[in-house]
């Protein structure tokens, strides 16, 4: 089993797929930006 596959399987074992974890993380970050917790993200 490849490493990528193992991480995906590990994510699933935590109850959700890797896709959904990525989605939740991104939405959480967007929420933090929206409510002003993350005001400026430098690049």
């Amino acid at each position: 089993m490849s490493e990528d596959n193992k991480i995906a399987t590990a994510a699933t074992r935590l109850g959700l797929s890797l896709d959904v974890w990525a989605l939740i993380t991104a939405f959480l970050l967007a929420l933090l930006v929206r409510v002003g917790v993350l005001k400026h993200v430098p690049w």
Binding site: I7, R13, L23
Partner: protein, 360 residues
């Protein structure tokens, strides 16, 4: 490629399982940041000394540093779980990238992408199947290569492997071929794009259509320009959205030959295989379009997306180990390479035609 990783057992708590990823994620961040610093330092030096040198983007530096490490030293096991999270960062980055597209852009470029993706997938499946037969590859290996080159690289191969009951060895062959060819595309695509003077949109569309793995497609686009990078992600995301349909087609085919389990619930199968981050990308794009976020917040989201991609690019370099790929044998690679050259030519023709019609 990478060494094995043990999973958190049932009695390990969530915190302990997350901590395992920290060293590797820090390594990704350090490499990505080093790439960014190198780009800025070299540009600053050139400017201060009035030198004219080509700008080498942080994307290339991050990949190159990762490649150097992966192919010269043995990466300690403690870093492996975190390095493998590059795909997580990629998907989170794609969702956040939605902030850089208003819905109108998505509808226009996405509409063009859908038309081209249908042609690309049909052509790729046909070409890879013919080449696999010509080179006498095992039928299921041919199916995996066809799915990998038509849709979305490693994810599609992993999805198809389970659905058509293919061997581990076949999927390793197919994954190695797709990754090796993706690494070659990182070098060749920008050179071809510049030689042909492709616009940012046209080049981004071509990268998204022709480069198989999402991480490499994103990097190949970003190596050309920032705009090309985001268009490449849009085109590639459109391709990714078709994964369920293509894998379902192959699953039904192999089941009809008695060599894979029958798909009982096709709707559930399609939803299971559908990449959910595509929906996230559309939701963020919609929220930005209806002004849920102000201008500064949109900028913050775009920068968060860039940071997520930075970790991804470092991961692309770190997980590309040429010695491991060479062990997989040369025949699948030759079939893959021939197929990819033909697919790249086909998609380039499609993009040039689309450019002439819609003025990308």
């Amino acid at each position: 490629m990478a060494t094995s990783v043990t999973f958190p057992s049932e009695d390990q708590n969530f915190f302990a399982s997350v901590v395992r990823f920290v060293p590797g994620v820090l390594l990704l961040a350090a490499i990505g940041f080093a790439g960014k610093v190198l780009e800025q330092s070299i540009n600053g030096y050139a400017k201060a000394h009035h030198l004219v040198i080509p700008n080498i983007e942080y994307v290339l530096w991050a990949i190159a540093i990762g490649l150097l490490i992966a192919n010269t030293v043995t990466i300690p096991k403690i870093f492996i779980p975190g390095i493998a999270t590059y795909e997580f960062w990629l998907k989170a980055g794609i969702v956040l990238l939605g902030a850089r597209f208003v819905v109108g852009d998505v509808l226009k470029l996405g509409g063009i992408s859908i038309a081209l993706v249908v042609l690309e997938i049909s052509g790729s499946l046909f070409l890879m199947t013919v080449l696999g037969r010509l080179f006498n590859l095992k039928p299921k290996l041919t199916s995996l290569l066809a799915v990998g080159s038509a849709v979305c690289g490693v994810s599609a191969i992993i999805a198809a492997k389970g659905a058509i009951d293919a061997d581990d060895e076949d999927s390793s062959f197919a994954i190695a071929a797709i990754l090796a060819l993706g690494a070659i595309a990182l070098v060749t695509f920008p050179l071809i794009g510049h030689a042909l003077h492709l616009s940012d949109n046209a080049y981004g569309l071509w990268s998204g259509l022709a480069v198989d793995n999402t991480a490499e497609a994103t990097a190949a686009g970003a190596l050309y320009s920032d705009v090309a990078g985001k268009v490449a992600v849009l085109a590639k995301t459109t391709r990714n959205a078709t994964i369920g349909f293509v894998v379902l087609g192959y699953a039904i085919y192999w089941a009809s030959r008695g060599q894979a389990e029958k798909v009982k619930n096709k709707g559930a199968f399609l939803w299971e295989k559908f990449p959910k981050f595509v929906l996230g990308f559309l939701v963020i794009s919609l929220l930005v379009s209806v002004h849920v976020f102000n201008k500064e917040q949109v900028g913050a989201l775009a920068n968060l997306s860039r940071w997520a991609f930075l970790l991804t690019f470092a991961g692309v370099g770190l997980r590309t180990n040429f010695r491991e790929m060479a062990k997989q044998g040369v025949r699948p690679f030759i079939v893959g390479a021939l197929g990819e050259v033909l697919i790249a030519s086909l998609t380039l023709g499609l993009v040039v035609a689309a450019n002439a019609i819609w003025k990308l």
